[in-house]
Amino acid sequence: MALVSVPSLMQDLTAGQDQVNIEGETIREIILNFDKVFPGVKDRLCDGDRIKPFIAVYIGSELSQAGMRELVSPDSEIHFVPAISGG
């Protein structure tokens, strides 16, 4: 199971839990399964079937570029963080 760290502003949905183990082979599956355990999560992370534009996904130390299709392995650590851009 991948380890998802819950953004602090979403911990209202997880009763304060800051990390959860979620089953899934892609980010899409992770989010859908995450939403099953804590309903409302998907709405906060996605617009329809896309990650919201303000959110970036990290797998370990790598910024994911594949959005919902990104592959996840069982020992992955997943972070949803506010997206930023450079100058």
Partner: protein
């Protein structure tokens, strides 16, 4: 620095390919474009910082004999009030469009309201003054903390605070609230032996590129739009024009001219859509250039900010907890660099318990835009000053403090992800060993006060998409076609990477930056991504060429490609006990047809950048003026491809930092009018304000790049504000918390006025 033996081209200092054109005045910049039949465009800008536009009467102006066309926001296609992805960023289309020409409200002094095309620039100027606009003047809000008050004037009725989907009860001017948090803050502060908490503020400042914005547009009868302009990213301009004008991207060609500086400020479009619209309506080429005052009043400054930092450490100097609140000026529309500031604020350190809250707040100033490591200089100014104060209170050497707390590979970043290979501690160690740090300073020579400051900084650096095409000529020299605008020598740094792969010299490569019809999609020259990402595209294209040439050689020698080796620019093989060899140039001649390699790359693994700076300075206790005496900037660049241009990035960043720290800042009156919108009154450092700057390039290769490159362009602007503030504070014995540290502020801090 010793030249690296491993490489033939990388690490050397060849003359840049575009150099001769630039020292002889031949290089063509955007404003140098001229068409015999062109019209000149000019923008009418709001004289008020906050006003409702009740009506616009263009009848008088239209009767001016030289006027060919007048446009207002009514001439822009209606776009939805929704957020969409735009190339590499995300943007609310209505905000984007309204910033080009205000529709219902003018939100800052200088906000475009209408535009004119006329046969000469003087007539265009006369005509805009004949346009009559009826404004209902509204109360402006010019301070972020004020804008957050519940009864503050509201800029956007429909704005809702974005906070990871969580409804928040904030003032309507708060565009977003982000949070990064881990560990147990309370326990962390409880474990501290010393806690320092302070408020900091930084002024609104400008990127200050010397070339003002420009655009020349032409619209053909077949519906093809061409725009020649100064931009950090031609494809980004194309994307924005396509959304604002509701045109397909393939109908738009953007030609990037040479660019006179950008620093993040030439990503966003301003007059380009206006020139395009005027050209579409008149079917004539329309040229527009901004004045310096228009640049100050109407283009993205870097956000002013208020930041509160609380930091706890134990007696040994170990940080136990850190907390920060960052409030950034978004300007008239959402989207300041507060996110990046929040990410960078404690990034150089391993901190187990922390919380960082960032607020993006709209107010009646021009929409802020990126400026070199956007948000990070503001943020690190606050955190690095608090660290310095903790060091003073613990009586601990600031370098030692950083060695104790510095982050390294495997440590957790403040927002969760783990650091890959980084070179922060290496910059601190290099600072400790540097002669500058070893030499002590005389604290009070002849009545002046001297101080030394140290600070560190972080920038994440970017990757993203870049395309390169390589054509091999029959004489063995190659054309390298790229889409990355060259602002500071990237033609050279990219060409050198291709040269290294092919065993050629830098001079054998002829790089060309071309328009959006002539190369694949390439992201902006920004985010410290170009030498890294376009470099990787060039390496891949060169490898592709090398493979093709091996095929040509194998064919020529009647061998299998796997029998052919390539070493130091020579193709080698053995056949029937005989040693065969051919040079690159010989193969190019034999190939008998063009060899072309085209590649688009989108590399991750940009590799973070860290820097540590040391500054000595002197404060005149009578005038409050600060003179920089000595400056040493140490930075991990991963691998310097062309060390002179890597150093140049550092030196330029430091100079901008000195300006930000000591003399630059927008001054506003109560009505929200900028009162220093010229280079005379907005004081950027001159050669006489600066000492020579010593740069030390540390090379901790980035595993994400074949040669180890890390972006180098942005992080040098991160440490200077704090380094200088720490030095001034130590010199005068009072903590400085507001930028710029102008003479009057210094005297005030010293209690002299």
């Amino acid at each position: 620095m010793p030249e690296d033996k491993e490489f033939k081209v990388i690490g050397t200092r060849p003359i840049r390919h575009d150099g001769i054109d630039k020292v002889t005045g031949r290089a063509a910049y955007g404003a140098d474009i001229h068409f015999p039949d062109m019209l000149h465009g000019k923008v009418l800008r709001s004289p008020y910082a906050h006003a409702r536009i009740k009506s616009i009467d263009i009848s008088k102006a239209s009767s001016h004999p030289a006027v060919k066309c007048i446009i207002t926001s009514d001439d822009l296609p209606l776009v939805e009030d929704t957020i969409t992805e735009l190339g590499e960023t995300v943007i609310n289309l209505k905000y984007l469009s309204d910033n080009i020409l205000a529709s219902d409200k003018a939100l800052y002094k200088g906000h475009p309201v209408a535009a004119v095309a006329a046969t000469d620039p003087y007539a265009a100027e006369e005509a805009i003054n004949m346009i009559e606009v009826d404004y209902e003047i509204l109360e402006p809000v010019l301070d972020v903390r004020q804008a957050m008050e519940p009864d503050a004037p509201v800029l956007h009725e429909s704005l809702k605070t974005e906070s990871m989907g969580k409804g928040e009860d904030q003032s309507q001017n708060v565009a977003s609230h982000s949070q990064r948090k881990h560990g147990d803050l309370e326990a962390g502060f409880a474990a501290a032996d010393i806690i320092v908490e302070r408020d900091f503020s930084t002024a609104t400042i400008h990127q200050g590129y010397i070339e003002t914005h420009n655009a020349t547009a032409q619209y053909n009868e077949d519906g093809e739009l061409t725009v020649w302009c100064s931009t950090q990213g031609a494809f980004g301009v194309r994307d924005q024009l396509s959304k604002i004008l509701k045109m397909p991207v393939s109908k738009i060609k953007v030609v990037p001219m040479e660019i006179g500086g950008g620093f993040g400020g030439k990503v966003q479009v301003y007059i380009k859509p206006i020139a395009a619209l005027l050209a579409m309506k008149t079917r004539k080429p329309v040229k527009m250039t901004m004045t310096r005052t228009e640049v100050f009043e109407g283009t993205g400054p870097a956000p002013g900010s208020y930041i509160r930092v609380k930091l706890g450490a134990d007696k040994t100097g170990k940080i136990t907890a850190a907390e920060a609140h960052l409030i950034f000026e978004a300007g008239a529309y959402p989207g300041s660099a507060v996110g990046a500031g929040s990410l960078c604020i404690f990034a150089p350190y391993k901190i187990d318990n922390l919380q960082i809250d960032g607020y993006d707040v709209v107010l009646n100033k021009p929409k802020s835009s990126a400026y070199r490591a956007p948000g990070a200089p503001n943020a690190c100014f606050a955190s690095e000053c608090v660290i310095d104060e903790i060091c003073q209170k613990l009586d601990m050497d600031p370098i030692k403090f950083r060695l104790i707390n510095g982050a390294k590979e495997g440590d957790r970043r403040c927002d969760g992800p783990i650091y890959p290979k980084i070179g922060y501690l290496e910059t601190v160690e290099a600072a400790q060993q540097h002669g500058h740090y070893a030499e002590s300073i005389d604290k009070t020579p002849n009545g002046k006060l001297r101080g030394r400051g140290v600070a560190s900084g972080f920038w994440m650096n970017g990757g993203g998409r870049s395309s390169v095409t390589i054509n091999v000529n029959a004489d063995g020299r190659i054309n390298l076609i790229e889409g990355s605008t060259d602002i500071g020598g990237t033609r050279a740094s990219i060409a050198m990477q291709a040269a290294e792969v092919l065993g050629l010299s830098s001079e054998d490569i002829m790089p060309a930056v071309v328009d959006t019809d002539s190369v694949g999609y390439t992201g902006v020259t920004g985010g410290s991504r170009t030498t890294f990402a376009t470099g990787i595209a060039a390496i891949n294209a060169a490898e592709n060429i090398r493979a093709q040439m091996i095929g040509v050689v194998a064919n020529h020698w009647e061998l299998k490609p796997s029998d052919v080796k390539f070493k130091d620019g020579t193709f080698l093989a053995q056949k029937n006990g005989e040693e065969l060899q051919m040079t690159f140039k010989e193969v190019a001649a034999v190939a008998g047809g063009p060899l072309v390699g085209s590649v688009t790359a989108s590399p991750g693994g940009a590799g973070n950048g860290f820097a540590t700076h040391i500054v000595d300075l002197e404060v005149d206790s009578e005038t409050g003026k600060v003179d920089i005496l000595r400056y040493t900037a140490i930075q991990d660049v991963g691998r310097a491809i062309h060390p002179s241009y890597a150093e140049g990035q550092v030196e330029g960043g430091v100079a901008q930092g000195v300006g930000w720290a000591l003399s630059e800042g927008y001054l506003y009156n109560d009505e929200g009018h900028m009162t220093n919108a010229s280079f005379l009154d907005y004081r950027m450092p001159t050669s006489y304000d600066l000492p020579s700057i010593e740069t030390v390039l540390v090379e901790v290769p980035n595993p994400g790049h074949p040669y180890g490159v890390r972006g180098a362009g942005e992080v040098p602007l991160v440490p200077p504000l704090a380094a200088i503030a720490n030095a001034v504070s130590r010199a005068i014995g009072v903590r400085m918390t507001e930028l710029p540290m102008s003479p009057d502020r210094v005297l005030e801090a010293m209690g002299s006025i």
